[in-house]
């Protein structure tokens, strides 16, 4: 079970009260060398050097050259993978997690436990075969560099290739130490595969496979088959012509061919989206364990993401135009200091709207129904939605007069007319609400999103008013938050309501915005 060099084997019971001091660095499982050899994880970095070198030497095209090359590359991959494994160690000490690595130059990264914001355990297919997992430790960016720039990818420790039980132990150990519970030693050193976490689980959501049928109506999943078809057509291009089957069948009516092509494309799109959604979301489960929300999902790669409930500042319910047709929605958690928030914050990747709403109410207070925005906002939305069409119409009119080419004019007129329902739809989405402890804003039509945020989440307000908005008595307000996208906008609300909304949706400091003339506090200069 335990890797060689590990200080505590299974069954080695620690003496209570006695800590292992100093803790010994641990190694990942040697089985990771196999995975890395097969995936050329380290050897891949040598490609930029190897290709010009090989081109310089020049190779004959014989069969034996190919075999020799394959063997050589595999050996190089094995060697580099073994070296990387040999030079890698990690240590989850009482105050920090330390990762040491590097072939030639050693690098040591130390992340203090109180900076750790979450742990993700994922098991790609090869890892699963060998009973390994990959542990990602998410850390808050250090002091000054975090300002307004968010936690980037480099603020992440990657411990690749530990046995499943060790991954589980690491997760518990790090999370327990971080919350400053005084030394639960038995948990810390227990390498037993049984879950060392005695806290009860509460299930928040479980994926129903019927929800996969929503996938063809969600933009993100439609991209999967498009990308796949793109890749496939590139492969077909590479295949020599003589290998391609001769597809000249009986001559068909072009219109029949067109209809067939559209039908086939639609079927491929829908099936691809469903498959893509299944691969990512297979057996999704969201449970609460202690102070954390744990999301597990994936068909080939199992992902295990942990979010601290204390850091959840709000949720975003996304229901685009397609999803609204079938009453589907997606729920994202807005968590402070979460890298790669779009993927990791997902609390319900795809499901019925009612379920998403219920889950959102469970996590954040419901601020009540949204207040629609004034009628001038509707005029503004329609005008803006028609603007692009009008521009095309004008260009089309000029072309029709000068060269008699009319299709652009027709397109422009159609686009302009379509702008009306689009503008109405966008207006219908607009809304805001304030509750006792939370507030909500909604915007968008094709991609509609309602963000529900806690009042304490707001770290600033930005009020914007363009010249046109000023004439229409409107203004847009952005609630700046240190989570999710960083800012959530209440677009085109009545200018007179702005200050009151800001005060109701954040803490007392927002009263500074109230347009009542008040004496500025000069003492603080």
């Amino acid at each position: 079970m335990s890797a060689p060099g590990e200080p505590t084997g299974p069954g080695e019971v620690p003496v209570p009260g006695q800590t292992f001091w100093p803790p010994q660095p641990r190694r990942t499982s040697p089985r990771i060398v196999l995975v890395d050899t097969a995936t050329f994880r380290q050897a891949r970095q040598l490609v930029p050097i190897a290709v010009p070198a090989l081109a310089g030497i020049g190779l004959g095209g014989g069969r034996w050259t190919v075999v020799a090359l394959v063997v050589a590359i595999t050996l190089v991959s094995l060697a580099t993978a073994a070296l990387a494994w040999w030079r890698f160690s990690y240590l989850d000490g009482p105050a920090a997690v330390v990762v040491t690595r590097g072939l030639v130059s050693r690098s040591t990264r130390t992340v203090p436990n109180d900076r750790i914001r979450g742990i993700e355990i994922e098991a790609p297919p090869m890892h699963r075969l060998l009973g390994l997992v990959r542990v990602r430790i998410d850390a808050a960016a250090g002091g000054s560099s975090s300002a307004g720039r968010g936690a980037g990818k480099d603020e992440e420790l990657l411990i690749d290739g530990v046995p499943r039980a060790e991954g589980e132990r690491l997760r518990t150990a790090v999370l327990t130490k971080r919350s400053r519970v005084p030394v639960p030693t038995a948990d810390d050193v227990d390498g037993a595969p049984a879950r060392p976490d005695p806290e009860p689980e509460e299930e928040f959501a479980r994926f129903d496979n019927r929800w996969l049928l929503y996938a063809p109506l969600v933009g993100g999943y439609l991209a999967v088959p498009v990308a796949a078809v793109g890749a496939l057509s590139r492969i077909v291009d590479e295949v020599p012509d003589r290998l391609l089957p001769d597809v000249d069948g009986p001559a068909l009516d072009p219109s029949v061919v067109a209809v067939l092509a559209v039908v086939v494309a639609l079927v491929v799109l829908a099936a691809g989206a469903v498959i893509g959604a299944a691969v990512v979301n297979w057996r999704f489960r969201l449970v609460r364990r202690g102070g954390s929300l744990i999301a597990v999902r994936g068909l080939l790669t199992r992902r295990h993401t942990e979010l601290e409930i204390d850091r959840i500042r709000g949720v975003a319910v996304a229901d685009g135009a397609g999803m609204r047709l079938v009453g589907a929605a997606r729920l994202n958690g807005l968590v402070t200091g979460l890298g790669d928030a779009q993927r990791r914050g997902q609390l319900l990747p795809l499901g019925p709207r009612a379920q998403a709403e219920a889950l959102s109410r469970r996590l954040v207070d419901d601020p009540g129904p949204l207040t629609p925005h004034p009628a001038s906002a509707r005029r503004r939305r329609i005008a803006r939605a028609m603007a692009a069409g009008l521009l095309v119409t004008v260009a089309g009119a000029v072309l029709t007069v000068t060269s008699g080419w009319w299709p652009l004019l027709v397109t422009g007129v159609v686009l302009t007319v379509l702008g009306v329902p689009l503008g109405l739809g966008r207006y219908a989405s607009l809304g805001h609400a304030t509750g006792r402890r939370s507030f909500a804003v909604r915007v968008g039509w094709l991609v509609r999103e309602r963000a529900v945020l806690e009042r304490r989440a707001v770290v600033g307000w930005e009020v914007k008013q363009s010249w046109a908005q000023r004439r229409a008595g409107l203004a847009s307000v952005v609630a700046c938050v240190g989570a999710g996208r960083g800012g959530y906008i209440a677009m085109d609300m009545a200018a007179d309501d702005v200050a009151a909304f800001a005060v109701a949706a954040s803490e007392p400091w927002a009263e500074q915005l109230l347009p009542v003339p008040r004496e500025p506090d000069r003492a603080m200069r």
């Binding site: 402070t336 930005e462 009542v516």
Partner: protein
């Protein structure tokens, strides 16, 4: 300037008048660059090219001249009326823009870092910008073009107070 009242309160303090000089200088540099581009267009694009070229040959210079006049003789003064700032007991508050205006309010308790930057032109005019960062990528306040000494004092004061009142809610 406009009839409709502003949606939120106006920050109390205006910028030093040297900021107008800075904006005029920035506009002049922009005008010189535009003039070079328009000049190149007039010299190197042949007039008999047909299409929209003859029209553009007089429309572009006219637009450029109008823009230059506004940028040099109107916009700096308009901006000086719009740009305002204020530091109160618990927040930093600014207004920026000219046709489109933006008010930004950030509470001292949520400030993460405070920067003072002095650009090349700003140094010529003895001015500096105070940038106040929060945990949000969108919640950044910039107080443009303060006198350098004032900027430094504001930044020090904000940083010290943020250190004392910071809360962990973000």
């Amino acid at each position: 300037m406009t009839v409709a009242p502003a949606p939120v309160r106006e920050p109390a303090w205006s910028l030093p008048r040297t900021a107008i000089g800075l904006w005029v200088t920035e506009s002049l540099i922009g005008v010189v660059i535009t003039a070079l581009v328009v000049g190149a267009l007039l010299i190197w694009v042949p007039a008999d090219l047909g299409g929209p070229v003859p029209f553009l040959r007089w429309a572009v210079p006219v637009v450029a001249v109008l823009d230059a006049l506004i940028a040099v003789f109107v916009r700096p003064w308009l901006k000086h009326r719009v740009y305002r700032w204020e530091v109160t007991q618990d927040a930093v508050y600014t207004r920026t823009g000219w046709l489109s205006q933006t008010w930004t309010l950030v509470p001292v308790s949520r400030i993460q870092t405070v920067d003072v930057t002095r650009g090349f032109l700003q140094q010529l005019f003895g001015l500096a910008t105070v940038a106040v960062f929060t945990a949000s990528s969108q919640g950044t306040v910039r107080i443009w073009h303060l006198e350098h000494g004032v900027a430094q004092r504001v930044a020090d004061d904000l940083a010290a107070r943020a250190e004392r009142t910071r809360d962990q809610a973000t």
